[in-house]
Symmetry: C2
Subunit: 337 residues, 2 copies
């Protein structure tokens, strides 16, 4: 029997700059009741991802903002505990988009059944889910790495970056990771098998990155933004490609001070025939089945590795999310409920 109340975390107020605990509120609400055609879900795992910071703003982006006092959005792995939907039965484990709460109802839209025997169900939130597919689609469709080329990715130990570098290597390119701190760098080099890794906290980061890319950079997979640009840009080769997938380092910035780097950036775009291309993974939905098939094969063959950073308890989600924005997590961040 489910409890009589549900717990959820809502957006308490919109942050300006960095979010803090005061921007979230844990509240108890009546237990949702499934209507005809709906299922009742008990959420087991909640994915925490950088894009959620954008949803906390009022500004129009590629998706609607979360309203103040509404539950925070997010991907989840859940168990069906009651069903009035013909396709789902009690005990089914599903990928859903139920947000930061313990229970939810769903009419089946966006649900995908998971096979716990095929892969740990948490991978549906990471390497075999949206982050993995984001890496796959952006790298292969926009980055188009060729054998022998150099691919650079920041947040290289993270959910997206780790997949980018490993697929780059599978495609015959050289993978250079950027990560923060010795532990993450060791993981990127020794476990994920990148060709080189550079610690962006090093005082001579730019020089180290240049040394790690003796033939320049052909693909810079952009998922952080911020000051790392300054080190990457001079190293980009003619006809380099820059898929822009995320900008976590600047999600909390207010109007930045000068000097204005835009003019210099455009000059590089012109003189080096660069391509800079933003994308949201939904654009590439037609490739999703290819991704599942290929990525599952690579995992089975030991060519695609992943690391999860699992924290316990719905109430820890705000703190864990704030830590994610500062790079405190180590691997795909997931809350176990």
């Amino acid at each position: 029997m489910p409890p009589e109340t549900n717990q959820r975390i809502v957006l308490a107020k919109r942050p300006v700059g960095w979010p803090g605990p005061e921007h979230f509120r844990l509240e108890e609400v009546p237990m949702p009741v499934p209507k005809a055609g709906e299922v009742l879900l008990k959420i087991r795992y909640l994915s925490l991802d950088p894009y959620m910071r954008g949803r906390m703003n009022a500004a129009k982006s590629y998706a609607k903002p979360v309203e103040v006092d509404a539950v925070m959005v997010g991907g989840t792995v859940a168990e069906v505990i009651a069903s009035r939907h013909p396709d789902y039965h009690t005990g089914d484990v599903v990928l859903s988009y139920s947000g930061w709460q313990r229970f939810a109802v769903c009419d089946g839209t966006g649900l995908r059944k998971l096979d716990p025997a095929a892969a740990p169900v948490t991978t549906a939130l990471g390497v075999l889910g949206m982050p993995g597919f984001t890496a796959y689609a952006g790298l292969l469709t926009i980055g188009k790495p060729k054998p022998g080329e150099t691919v650079v990715v920041a947040a290289a130990s993270g959910a997206v970056g780790s997949v980018v570098g490993q697929i780059a290597r599978i495609k015959g390119a050289r993978a250079v990771g950027i990560a923060g701190g010795a532990d993450k760098c060791a993981f990127v080099r020794d476990v994920l098998g990148f060709d080189a890794v550079v610690d962006h906290r090093s005082s001579d980061f730019a020089a180290q990155l240049a040394a790690a890319c003796p033939e320049g950079i052909d693909v810079y997979f952009e998922n952080v933004g911020g000051p790392i640009w300054n080190a990457v840009f001079p190293l980009l080769n003619d006809f380099a490609r820059v898929p822009v997938c995320g900008l976590i380092a600047q999600y909390n910035d207010e109007a930045p001070a000068g000097p204005d780097r835009l003019a210099g950036m455009m000059r590089q775009v012109l003189t080096k025939s660069l391509s800079i291309r933003g994308y949201i993974v939904y654009e590439f939905a037609a490739q999703q089945d290819d991704f599942y098939r290929e990525a599952a094969g690579w995992i089975a063959a030991g060519r695609l590795r992943y690391r999860e950073d699992i924290v316990d308890g719905l109430e820890t989600a705000p703190k864990a999310f704030i830590g994610l924005l500062r790079g405190a997590n180590f691997g795909k961040l997931i809350v176990r409920l």
Copy 2:
């Protein structure tokens, strides 16, 4: 008989910021003498183009800098006045890349014979030359305008911009031009037939541009850079394409002051899935024959119009070129020798 001396204009010293007359020097040198396999050219027309400002810098770009004391580079229309080359004869009119001088020798590399009966030979420097092809290749290969989409181009009365907007219309798109001053705006609207034109000198330029693009901007053909970005960027639609062909408004800028617009630009790239792609026309050399054929047909059909701004005398080239960088020309700038 050619004279005993040649006149040429060399780079006297490298400018920092805006070039002035002091950066050029007119000098007399001995008449060049063609060796076996070479032709002697008498230059009739010299093309002045914004890219030449880049060649005055020492910095590596997509082409080698002009050396100090070396003749300024540039496309020319010339007459063969002596030939020791089997393919060229006295009286042939050719497109050559002979630079800012009265006479030159050439071993045939890069020469193309022109047919003065087919089109005015000056068009080989403009609408049927490098500027026209730059417009054609960048708009069609990178911009990819679809019928009904909105294409915006600045310097719309110029050699490249005028062709961009007219080809956009030929392809069924809406062409919105940006130009400086009432005369140029009238020309863009009434002679070139753009759907709308906005004067960037207007105090409410950004509001006027927004009004001229009620359905946003799908293709922004970037050939000026500088402050026009600020008005264009908020209007770009999801999946907009930005071919970057030139940045004349910032060729003479030194390190610009803040605020730093790069972060905001990257945010737009991400949330709107924008494509920004620099190019040099040589990349698309394989399309050149298609261009000549199509553009000649459009000119014959009255669908592709052009305007030339012809000034007289080699000695006027520096002043005319400096004016070009400030937008003082009106149409394709050519020096008649």
